[in-house]
C-alpha cells in the first residue's frame, strides 16, 4: 500500500531512530527530531519503535491512502482532518481506502509525526530510513516530499499488534513557551570568562527563526570569551578552534553572539569552540521549541544527566509495556 501526496507540506520527511556509525565521515545521526513523539506514534500504530514515520514541520501534507490503514498523529498540537472532519491526535485512527488526511494550523511547537501501521517502507540506507537531505541520502529519494510522490507503506506486522488506543494525557509532552534545558558545561568551556559562562546559564534565551534540523540559534546577551593568542591553524577569533568534531547537542557561540545548539542533522565538525552540550534527555525538549520560546540553560553534572536519561527512558518504555 502507499500514500499519495497531494500537497507536501513545508518540509515533510521520512525519519526513524537515526543512523549511527557514520559521523566520522560527516553523515549525522538524523532521525526524528522529537524521538519521544515519534516513538509514541509508532506504539499507537502497532509498529516497532524502529519503524519509519513522517516528520512534518509547521505546515503538514495532504495525502490519500490507497488501502485501509491504521495511523496515529503525535507531536506538536495541530488539527488533524480525515476527509475534512477533525480527528484526534495521540490516538489510534483507522482509515478506509481513499480517505484523505490533511492538517490545520499548529497551535504550538514545530513538528508532528504520522505513523502508519507497517511503517514508511523506503529502503534502508546505511542502516536507517532517515532522510539526510543535505547529502541527498536515505528517506524518500533523499529529500523532503513533493506533490505527486507515492510513499510506500510496509505490510502490517504479522505478530499481534499492540492495542494501545491513546497516549494518556500525563505522558504527552508539553509545548511550553518557556522551557528549561539541562546542559553539561564542558568541551571548550574553559575558554569563556567566568562572566561568559554565568551569562550562558542565567540569561533568558529566545529561540530565533534560524532553527532547523541542523541547529537552533538563540538570541540574548553577548557571551564573553577570554582574549588570547590563537594557536596555529585555529583562526583569528577567540571563539575559533582548530576544526574539531562537534558533539550532537553541543552549544557553540561564534564571536560571542547568539548560541547555536546543534541537533540531529548536525554538521559533524567545524572551527567554533563548543562550551556545553544539551543532555540526551532534553534533546526532544529543544526539538519541540518554536521560535520565540524562552529558554533557560540549566547546568547539570554527568550524574544528573544519567539520572535524567534513565527517567526519559522509563517514560519512553512505558507506552511499549
Amino acid at each position: 500500500m502507499a500514500f499519495s501526496i497531494l500537497e507536501p507540506g513545508l518540509a515533510t520527511s521520512v525519519q526513524d531512530q537515526g543512523r549511527l556509525g557514520y559521523y566520522n565521515v560527516g553523515i549525522p545521526q538524523g532521525g526524528a527530531m522529537d524521538q519521544l513523539s515519534a516513538s509514541m506514534a509508532n506504539a499507537l500504530a502497532g509498529n516497532a519503535a524502529t519503524d519509519a514515520v513522517l516528520e512534518c514541520a509547521y505546515l503538514g501534507p495532504k495525502f490519500t491512502t490507497d488501502a485501509d490503514a491504521v495511523i496515529a498523529v503525535t507531536g506538536a498540537p495541530v488539527e488533524v482532518r480525515v476527509n475534512g472532519t477533525t480527528a484526534d491526535q495521540w490516538t489510534r485512527l483507522s482509515l478506509t481506502a481513499g480517505d484523505e488526511v490533511s492538517f490545520g494550523m499548529l497551535s504550538g511547537g514545530t513538528r508532528y509525526y504520522i505513523a502508519v501501521q507497517g511503517g514508511i517502507d523506503v529502503p534502508l540506507v546505511l542502516g536507517s530510513r532517515s532522510t539526510y537531505a543535505l547529502g541527498a541520502l536515505g528517506g524518500f529519494q533523499g529529500r523532503t516530499l513533493k506533490a505527486g510522490d507515492v510513499v510506500p507503506v510496509g505490510p502490517a506486522p504479522t505478530s499481534a499488534s499492540r492495542r494501545l488506543d491513546s497516549i494518556p494525557d500525563e505522558l504527552r509532552p508539553a509545548y511550553a513557551r518557556e522551557v528549561s534545558v539541562r546542559i553539561m558545561p564542558g568541551l571548550y568551556d574553559h575558554r569563556l570568562t567566568a562572566e561568559g559562562m554565568e551569562t550562558l546559564v542565567t540569561a533568558s534565551w529566545k529561540l530565533t527563526p534560524v532553527a532547523d534540523r541542523t541547529g537552533l540559534r538563540y538570541s540574548g546577551p553577548d557571551i564573553e570569551w577570554k582574549p588570547r593568542t590563537q594557536p596555529f591553524g585555529a583562526g583569528s577569533d577567540p571563539s575559533n578552534i582548530v576544526d574539531a568534531g562537534y558533539a550532537i547537542g553541543s552549544i557553540q557561540v561564534p564571536g560571542g553572539k547568539e548560541p547555536i545548539v546543534l541537533h540531529r542533522d548536525a554538521v559533524s565538525g567545524g572551527g567554533y569552540a563548543m562550551v556545553a552540550t544539551v543532555i540526551s534527555a532534553d534533546m526532544d525538549v529543544v526539538a519541540r521549541s518554536a521560535p520565540g520560546t524562552v529558554t533557560h540553560f540549566e547546568p547539570v553534572t554527568m550524574e544528573q544527566a544519567l539520572t535524567a536519561r534513565a527517567d526519559a527512558a522509563r517514560i519512553r518504555r512505558s507506552v511499549w509495556e
Partner: protein, 300 residues
C-alpha cells in the same frame, strides 16, 4: 631535541553531554597531533568496544560517541586513555595509506561567479578569493598561489562537516603553510566540488551548500556518490578517509570537460597508488618525503 622526539603533552579529556567524549590532543594543528588522533581512532575501532557507536578522528582531536547505558563514562575514558598511552609508546609512526591525484580547474568560472555574488562583506570586496589569498600569503600573483597549492601534497586530516568533505593539511614545514582567513560571514551557497581554504586547511566541498572557506577552483570528479555509480565508490559512497594523501593536479577547461564526460559515462577512476606515510620522515625532511610519495604516483 628535535620536534619528532618530543614527548607530547597529555591530551585533554572532556565530556560533550552524556553521549560524547572529546579528547583534545593539541590546541595547535600539526602532523603529529593528527597522527595521534588517527592512530587512537584506529586502535579504538579495532577494539570494537560495546556501546561505542562513532569514533571520529579530527585534525588535532578525537570525538567518541557512546551509549552510557552500555559503557559507563569512566570505563570508556579509561579505555581511550589506554589507547593514547599505546600510541605515545609507538616506535614506528607510519601509516599504510594511498596517494590520490585530484584534478582541479583552478580559477574556474563556477567559483568565480559564486565569489562575485558574495563580495559584499568580504575582506577584499574587489577582486577574487584567489587575489585575497595571494596577498595574505605575500605572493606576487594568484598564479603563484595556485602553484604553491598544487606543488606539495596534502594529508587528509579529517573527514566531515558534511558527508565526505575532506579537510587537508599540506605536508610542508609550518612556515610554508598557506594560511588564509575564512569568510567574515559564511556564504549561503557553494558550488559542489569547490576547492576551498580556511585557516591552514584546504577542503573540497562534497555537496552544494553553505560554506565559509575561500574558493580557489573546482574538482572535476565526485568525492561523494550516494548512488555508488563509479568504480571508486563500489565499496562505500564516500571516497576519502583520514590519512589519505592528495596531490592536486591543475587542469584546464578542456581537461575538465573530458573528465566530466568520463564521470557521466561511469568510466572515471582516480589515479592512486599505495604509499607509506612516515611521520618522522615527513617532519625531518618533507621535501624528500614528498618527492618519494609523489614518485609513486608518477610511476603509475
Amino acid at each position: 631535541m628535535s620536534q619528532s622526539t618530543q614527548t607530547p603533552a597529555p591530551a585533554r579529556y572532556t565530556w560533550g553531554g552524556d553521549e560524547f567524549l572529546f579528547v583534545e590532543i593539541a590546541e595547535s594543528m600539526s602532523l603529529t597531533a593528527n597522527f595521534t588522533a588517527n592512530a587512537m581512532a584506529t586502535r579504538l575501532s579495532a577494539q570494537a568496544i560495546d556501546g561505542v557507536t562513532d569514533i571520529c578522528p579530527a585534525n588535532a582531536s578525537l570525538l567518541v560517541r557512546f551509549d552510557p547505558d552500555v559503557v559507563p563514562p569512566d570505563q570508556l575514558e579509561a579505555l581511550v586513555r589506554e589507547a593514547e598511552e599505546e600510541v605515545a609508546q609507538l616506535n614506528e609512526q607510519t601509516l599504510e595509506t594511498r596517494i590520490i591525484e585530484i584534478p582541479v580547474w583552478y580559477d574556474d568560472p563556477y567559483t568565480r561567479e559564486t565569489g562575485a555574488r558574495f563580495r559584499k562583506g568580504h575582506q577584499r570586496p574587489e577582486g577574487t578569493d584567489l587575489d585575497f589569498a595571494a596577498e595574505e600569503n605575500g605572493l606576487a600573483s594568484p598564479q603563484e598561489f595556485i602553484r604553491r597549492h598544487h606543488e606539495s601534497p596534502w594529508l587528509v586530516s579529517m573527514v566531515g562537516f558534511v558527508a565526505g568533505l575532506p579537510f587537508m593539511f599540506q605536508i610542508v614545514p609550518q612556515e610554508e603553510q598557506l594560511e588564509v582567513p575564512k569568510y567574515l560571514s559564511p556564504r549561503t551557497d557553494t558550488p559542489p566540488l569547490t576547492v576551498g581554504h580556511g585557516g591552514c586547511f584546504a577542503c573540497i566541498y562534497s555537496v552544494r551548500g553553505a560554506g565559509g572557506y575561500q574558493m580557489f577552483g573546482i574538482a572535476a570528479a565526485p568525492i561523494f556518490d550516494p548512488a555508488q555509480k563509479l568504480a571508486d565508490f563500489s565499496d562505500f559512497m564516500i571516497f576519502f578517509k583520514p590519512g589519505d594523501i592528495v596531490k592536486f593536479k591543475p587542469i584546464d577547461e578542456d581537461e575538465y570537460k573530458a573528465i566530466q564526460a568520463e564521470v557521466d559515462a561511469g568510466t572515471f577512476t582516480y589515479r592512486q597508488a599505495p604509499v607509506t606515510f612516515d611521520l618522522q620522515k615527513a617532519l625531518a625532511d618533507p621535501t624528500a618525503h614528498n618527492r618519494d610519495i609523489m614518485e609513486t604516483l608518477n610511476g603509475l
